[in-house]
Subunit: 347 residues, 2 copies
C-alpha cells in the first residue's frame, strides 16, 4: 500500500512526525508493506509547499531548521489559504497539527471537514475538531469510508483511544478518570518537591518549555476539559462540549495546601472525570482533588499522565504514559496512519 | 458474521465465558453484526457434549452447576478423547481453557495444533501452547489464514498483547517489566499489611481461592516465568522457554524483609523482566526485588497486576489491571473472538 501524505502545521509536532516517518521508513515497508510520500506541507509562519511529485522531507526540515520557509519546495501557482491548499493537495491522508483553538475548534474543524469531504483520511493531533464536532466528522468519515483517527489528542501517543476501540470492545465504560494535563501536574510536582509558590512553579514550567508563555489554557483546566470531553464523547457515547466540564483550575492551590494534603497521605491532582450517572447521562468534571497516595493517580509525577477506565467487563484498567513529548505525540500520529493502512476504520 | 464455537474446558473460566457470551449476545449482534452458537463442549470431569445443531448453553451451565455432567446434551456416537472431539466438532473457533501444564504445555499444544490444522481459529487462555510452541503455532495459523489469539494468558483480560499489537506498532520494545502473578502479590501484600508469616499468608490466599491447594507453581515463580516468556516471544521476537527465566520465587522472603524494605522506602515485588541486551539477545528473569515506592510496580497491591513497556517510540507505558478474576479472563477470550470476527489476524 502507498499513501500520499499532507501535513497541516509544521511546528514541533509536525517536524517530529517528519523525522519519525524518515526514521521508520524501512520498517514501515518491511513490516507493513507501506510506502509513503509527503506531497504537501502547509504551515502558518513557515509557508506552504505543494508538489504532487513528492516533497523532499529532509530539505523541508533543513529549510525550517535554518529559520527559512518552505516556499522553495513549492510547485505550481501560489495558494491563497489553507482551504485552497486542502482543495489542491492530492494527499490520501491529511495530518491536522495546527494549534488547538479552545473556544470553537476552528479553523481546524473546517480543515478536517474539507479533507474528509473530498474523500481523504484525516489524522488529527488537534483536539478542537474532536472536542467540538466529533459526531459530525465521524459520520462524514463513515459516509466516505475513510479513517478519522486522533490518538494523539489525549495523552500524546499512549494508546488511550486505541485501548477503548481495540481492547475494550463490547464493554460499557462507566467511568473514566485521569490526569491529562502535563503542565499543571508539573507545577503541582514542583510545588511539592521544591516548595515553589504557584507563580514560581509556573515560571519553572515555562523555562523548560512545558508551559506556554500564556499558561491560561492549562492552568485554568481548559486543556483538561477538552481531553475529558473527547474521551466522554468517543468512548462513552456522550455529546458534551468543554464548557460542560465546568473546569476548575489550580490557580488557587497553595504550597500549604499541597503539603497539608501530603501530611494526611494524599496528593492534590487536577482530576479529570467523566462518569455515567444513574439516569444514564454522562457528566464531565475537571477540578483539583486530594487523591490518596495508594491511588495510582497520586503516583503520577511531573509531566506524566494517566487514565483509568472502569467498565462492566474489566473492573478497572489503568494506563500511564511516562515522560511524553512532541516525539510521542508524533508517534500517535504514525500509529493512526498505520491503522488506516490496516483498515481499522472499516471494521 | 456467524461463528460456531467449541469450548475445551468448562471450569471457572469456561463457565464465565458461557455466561458472558449469553449476557453480551444482543450487543455482539447489534454492534459487531456477530452471531454465535456453541456446538461443542469438552470437559475433563464434566463429560463431553457435541451437537452440530447447537447446544443449549444455559442447560449446560445448569447441568454442571447442579454437579451433573454434559452427557445429556450430547448428540451422536461417544467420543474417545479430546482429540476425537476436536476432529469431530464443526466449530469455527476453539477456545482452549484446559489447565496449563507448566512442564511442556501438553496436551493443550496438541489441541491447538489439531484445531488450527483443520482450519479453525483458536483462542487460548491456556499459557502452555504459547510458552512452548508460539512460533510453530503462529506459522500454522498464518498458513491456514486463521486467528490464534491468547490475550487472557497474561494479566487476564487486560489488553496487554493487544496494546503490543495495536498500540505499539513499528516500535522496538526494549524492556518489559511487571508483576504478573496475583497469588504471590497477594501473599506479599498480606505479609506487609497484616504481618503474616509466609506460610500463614499462603493459607490466607488459599482460603479466599487465590492460591491453589499446591501453590508451588505460583510461589516458586513458574507462572511468572511462563508469562514473561510469552511476552518476550510474542512482543520482542525471542524464542525462550520458561526455564530460561530461571525463576526465583518468594519462599525465602520473610516478614522482616518486607518491613525492612518498607522502612527504606521500597516494597518487595516478584518482578518479571524481559530485556534486550547490547548484543541484541532478549533475556528473561523472575525474582523478588526491592522496588522504590515511587515506581508504579510498588503500587500494585493484592491480586492486581502491572506491565511496563519501554520502547524506542513511547519511552515508557504502564498498564495496570485491578482486581482480576475468572470473569476478566473470560472477557479476554471474548475480545479475542471479536478480533477474529474483525479480521485482526489478517492485517
Amino acid at each position: 500500500m502507498h499513501l500520499d501524505l499532507a501535513l497541516l502545521g509544521f511546528g514541533n509536532v509536525g517536524q517530529e512526525l517528519a523525522e519519525l516517518l524518515l526514521r521508520k521508513r524501512i520498517e514501515l515497508e518491511a513490516d507493513f508493506g507501506l510506502t509513503w510520500r509527503v506531497v504537501g506541507i502547509s504551515a502558518r509562519s513557515k509557508g506552504t509547499a505543494l508538489d504532487p511529485a513528492g516533497i523532499d522531507l529532509e530539505a523541508a526540515l533543513s529549510a525550517v531548521a535554518g529559520g527559512g520557509t518552505l516556499a522553495g519546495l513549492h510547485q505550481g501557482p501560489p495558494l491563497a489559504d489553507t482551504g485552497a491548499f486542502i482543495a489542491a493537495c492530492p494527499a490520501a491522508v491529511f495530518f491536522e497539527m495546527t494549534t488547538t483553538n479552545p473556544q470553537d475548534g476552528q479553523p481546524a474543524t473546517d480543515h478536517v471537514r474539507a479533507a474528509l469531504g473530498k474523500g481523504a483520511h484525516v489524522v488529527s493531533a488537534n483536539k478542537g475538531p474532536v472536542a467540538f464536532a466529533h459526531r459530525e466528522l465521524l459520520a462524514l468519515a463513515r459516509l466516505k469510508r475513510v479513517g478519522f483517527f486522533f490518538e494523539s489528542t489525549v495523552m500524546d501517543g499512549a494508546p488511550v483511544l486505541g485501548v477503548g476501540r481495540e481492547g475494550l470492545p463490547a464493554s460499557h465504560i462507566r467511568r473514566i478518570r485521569g490526569v491529562f494535563n502535563s503542565t499543571t501536574n508539573y507545577i503541582l510536582t514542583r510545588m511539592e518537591r521544591d516548595r515553589l509558590g504557584f507563580e514560581d512553579a509556573v515560571r519553572a514550567a515555562q523555562e523548560i518549555g512545558v508551559a506556554e508563555a500564556d499558561p491560561t489554557l492549562d492552568v485554568d483546566g481548559w486543556d483538561s476539559a477538552i481531553k475529558t470531553v473527547i474521551l466522554a464523547n468517543v468512548l462513552m457515547g456522550a455529546d458534551l462540549r468543554p464548557k460542560d466540564a465546568a473546569p476548575v483550575g489550580i490557580r488557587d492551590v497553595t504550597v500549604d495546601d499541597v503539603h497539608a494534603a501530603l501530611a494526611e497521605g494524599a496528593r492534590i491532582r487536577l482530576v479529570c472525570e467523566a462518569a455515567r450517572g444513574e439516569d444514564g447521562t454522562v457528566r464531565a468534571s475537571v477540578a483539583p482533588q486530594r487523591v490518596p497516595l495508594e491511588d495510582p493517580l497520586a503516583s503520577v509525577m511531573g509531566t506524566s499522565s494517566l487514565v483509568d477506565f472502569e467498565a462492566d467487563t474489566l473492573r478497572r484498567l489503568t494506563l500511564i504514559e511516562h515522560d511524553p513529548g512532541p516525539d510521542t505525540t508524533a508517534y500517535g500520529l504514525l500509529v493512526d496512519m498505520l491503522n488506516i493502512a490496516r483498515g481499522r476504520h472499516l471494521v
